[in-house]
């Protein structure tokens, strides 16, 4: 391990460490523009220059590996002069238009010019101007501000795997361009806005919306897919203005998908902000008292066997628990959290979790995807698959429709029958998995929501045994969920009790006139038409599909407006925090249900969020261990491996990445993205 001195302090670092990293380890800050720890080293901005004693020229610390005995100076006059010089050159062609630039206040160029630049400019000549580019509905360009660090280019090339950005020309004529005007064809494109150290790439929907110092920041968790990415919600005056990723090495590293970042304009429209009651075919606004009384009356009139409750894709543990408790207290058996009909084995956590853990992907040495398109179902997880492929060139195969996942895939076809061959061990890819030390088998939630979902589940599980993928040290059998609520509902055991109906059963019963009352908690992805003749209560935040045929609409809070716990696809509980109160008369989900229980004359055993959370912790202790992975699930077999597979091929479950939930369906930005992709 080489030892070097930095500003006179000795430090020992690992072989291959760069001087910049060594300085960071020594607690010395080195300014930089092009360097980014998750991208390859470009060494083109020269902002990171330091002095090495005995070496005539300053060196770019980001690209220079440490050698033993190096003496580095970062505060010498020469370094200061070098930094001033670099700043001066970077600013030669920079427009200095900070007052009208959205990056102002959070701009690396602004900050570093302040700390390391000259006080006054000596430049009197003309500046170049660059034509702005059309990167689509999400990324706004002001290309005259670009300092050619190429972070955006490297991100698209390396992380996103969609090499659509590039540098054209050189020197004074260099420009960043996109392969096609109108859209970047990546679900991760918004991350270039965070990476751009200047105001060349900014958020288009957020243009001129606020200054960073006016915003309140709320650390929370994303719920627009099931990865559970760490986010920061920036809001002002009761409105979410932007969502940014936070670093969580275990899940999203520091990226988020475009839907998670940009669907937020949907939070401000089509909102249910007061209770509604249907009367004679039309909705009438009513008070909470009237609405709850109407629900209570209908619920009391309905027999428990003819009553059902269904949870959607977005509610947190608290709301689901309160609804399930309320229904069970009334003897209702038909309670289900699987609105898509997924065949997750009740009581078998391994059958709904991504057991390997998202960080476990970094160890996988062979990957099989079954009926899933991770690029659309969880872009940050797909980026991790790609990262692993780039690092180790692991073999990847897929049973499912062919799409570009940004890494090479051996296509096994979309017919599910291949699963049987794999599980038997007679398929060549079974050998690949068997030879691997950390084989990873990823089953899409869509593949389990087919009529033969139980068979798919059972065969995938058997395959894990055949190839030795499911053991106590490494469990590579992993389910990729698509909705933020599902794993939580399953951990809570929100599935029908004996004799109860599951989601499919409820719809069938309702159509046949066998259901008198149904409570939809944010369930928008089922056919609401089925409940035309059933007294339907919809509790949620958007006037989407579920509210359409409701008899009573109870306005709930969205994920940015209430404290709620979400369990991601790994089974990891995390907390969403409110950035502001819900609009109008809307209320947090659990409070509505507590009030309803009171109205029914049988109050729930908790009246506060803490009380409710203690109840959850008592029932499922690991759900109280916020941010922790759950204890490993037992390895028993599950599913129905000996059943018959359907002939129907696996299908694309997310035909439109941009619109998958009530929030994103309400978003004009997401609609614009869908149009841009369709046009391109």
């Amino acid at each position: 391990m080489p030892t070097l001195s930095i500003d006179g302090t000795e430090i020992e670092v690992a072989e291959g460490t760069t001087v910049l990293r060594a300085c960071e380890q020594a607690g010395v800050e080195i300014p930089r523009f092009c360097f980014h720890e998750r991208l390859s080293i470009a060494g083109n901005c020269r902002m990171c220059l330091v002095e090495q004693v005995g070496v005539p020229k300053p060196l770019a610390s980001c690209a220079m590996p440490v050698t033993d005995g190096m003496q580095i100076l970062t505060r010498s006059e020469r370094v200061q002069a070098a930094r001033e010089g670099v700043m001066e050159f970077l600013l030669v062609n920079h427009p200095l238009d900070c007052p009208i630039c959205d990056q102002g206040g959070e701009c690396d160029l602004q900050d570093q010019a302040l700390y390391y630049g000259r006080v006054r400019s000596r430049y009197r000549e003309a500046k170049r101007a660059v034509t702005d580019k059309d990167f689509g509905p999400l990324v706004k360009t002001v290309m005259t501000r670009c300092i050619h660090c190429t972070r955006c280019v490297r991100f698209m090339d390396e992380v996103a795997g969609v090499p659509e950005l590039g540098t054209m020309g050189r020197g004074e004529d260099m420009e960043i361009v996109a392969a096609l005007d109108g859209c970047l064809h990546s679900e991760l494109s918004g991350n270039v806005v965070d990476l751009c150290p200047v105001g060349a790439l900014t958020s288009k929907p957020y243009a001129f919306a606020a200054r960073p110092w006016e915003l309140s920041h709320t650390e929370s968790v994303d719920v627009l897919d099931a990865a559970g990415s760490a986010i920061r919600i920036d809001s002002r005056d009761g409105r979410v203005l932007r969502v940014l990723p936070r670093v969580n090495e275990e899940i999203n590293e520091e990226w988020i998908g475009d839907r998670s970042r940009y669907a937020i304009d949907g939070l401000a429209v089509r909102r249910l902000d007061r209770p509604w009651l249907r009367e004679g075919g039309a909705f009438r606004p009513v008070t909470w008292e009237a609405a709850l009384a109407a629900v209570a009356t209908a619920l009391q009139a309905a027999a428990p066997e003819r009553t059902a409750a269904l949870m959607g894709d977005l509610p947190g543990l608290e709301g689901m628990t309160a609804l399930a408790d309320l229904m069970r207290a009334r003897g209702v058996a038909s309670v289900d959290c699987r609105q898509d009909g997924g065949a997750f084995g009740p009581g078998e956590p391994a059958s709904w979790r991504f057991n390997a853990g998202i960080a476990g992907i970094d160890r996988a040495d062979a990957l099989l995807l079954i009926g899933t398109n991770p690029r659309r179902e969880a872009p940050v997880i797909n980026a991790r698959f790609r990262k692993r492929w780039r690092a180790a060139g692991i073999p990847v195969a897929r049973a499912g429709p062919v799409t570009d996942l940004t890494y090479p895939v051996t296509e096994l076809g979309a017919a599910p029958q291949v699963l049987a061959e794999l599980a038997e061990g007679s398929h060549p890819f079974a050998d690949v998995l068997e030879r691997a030390r950390y084989p990873l088998i990823v089953v899409g939630s869509g593949a389990l929501a087919r009529p033969d979902g139980g068979v798919v589940l059972g065969l995938a599980r058997r395959l894990a045994d055949t190839v030795g993928a499911a053991g106590p040290v490494w469990n590579g059998f992993s389910v990729l969920q698509r909705s933020a609520a599902r794993a939580g509902g399953l951990e809570l055991g929100i599935v029908p009790a004996d004799g109860g109906l599951d989601a499919g059963g409820m719809l069938a019963a309702a159509r046949a006139g066998g259901l008198d009352f149904v409570y939809l908690l944010g369930a928008d992805e089922v056919d609401p038409d089925a409940f035309r003749d059933t007294f339907t209560v919809y509790q949620g935040h958007h006037a989407d599909r579920g509210a359409r045929y409701a008899d009573v609409v109870l306005p709930g809070a969205a994920y940015t407006e209430q404290a709620a716990t979400y369990v991601n696809t790994e089974g990891r509980p995390q907390q969403a925090r409110p950035a502001h109160p819900p609009p109008g008369d809307a209320r947090p989900d659990w409070k509505i249900l507590v009030a309803l229980a009171r109205e029914l004359g049988s109050p729930l055993p908790y009246e506060s969020l803490d009380g409710l959370r203690s109840r959850i912790a008592a029932a499922v202790p690991h759900l109280a261990h916020i941010d922790q992975l759950p204890p490993p699930a037992p390895l028993a077999p599950f599913g129905d491996p000996d059943g018959a597979l359907d002939a129907a091929p696996f299908e694309e479950m997310v035909p439109d990445y941009y619109r998958t939930c009530p929030i994103s369906r309400a978003s004009a930005t997401m609609a614009a993205c869908a149009r841009a992709v369709a046009d391109a």
Binding site: D157, P163, E164, A179
Partner: protein, 168 residues
């Protein structure tokens, strides 16, 4: 790899294979510059976008990476150029030795400004930076040949000759 047959037909195929053979098979992409050069020679001295993409396909490289190279190196042209590409060096040594005069001669003879191509598509005139032959300044590069120690008159004469030869 696709595109090879249409991109480098007939004997060029062998030339392309020979170039590829100079690099380790795991680093096919190292051959991109010589292959672009070969392709440019076979496509009228410039690289139409479809050809750039085809070179990318041939080497398994994203077309964006190939486009970057084409615009970076001054030897590649992403727009049509005349049969004779007249590149007049204007860097200090050549300038001190009279490159202004050489350029004026070329402008006069061809009737075009730097950056333009004659209407008959035969000559393109451009100014370039140091061609690396300063000892024999002023220097002009025309296609693959260097013309050294020029002056305005000799520049004109050479261009006139070429023109006549072309007319015949």
């Amino acid at each position: 790899m696709s595109g090879g047959a249409e991109l480098f037909p007939g004997p060029d195929r062998d030339a392309a294979e020979e170039i590829l053979g100079r690099y380790p098979t795991a680093h096919r992409q190292s051959a991109v510059l010589p292959l672009l050069d070969l392709a440019q020679r076979r496509h009228g001295g410039w690289l139409p976008p479809a050809v750039v993409d085809a070179v990318g396909d041939y080497l398994g490289m994203p077309s964006m990476r190939v486009r970057e190279l084409v615009t970076f190196y001054s030897m590649f042209h992403d727009r049509p150029v005349g049969r004779y590409l007249v590149q007049v060096c204007r860097t200090t040594p050549c300038w001190l030795r009279g490159s202004d005069e050489v350029l004026a001669g070329a402008r006069e003879e061809l009737g075009i400004a730097p950056g333009e191509t004659t209407p008959d598509g035969r000559f393109t005139l451009v100014e370039v930076e140091c061609l690396g032959a300063c000892a024999d300044a002023p220097v002009v590069q025309i296609n693959d040949d260097y013309h050294e120690r020029l002056d305005g008159e000799r520049m004109r004469a050479w261009l006139r000759d070429r023109r006549r030869a072309e007319d015949d």
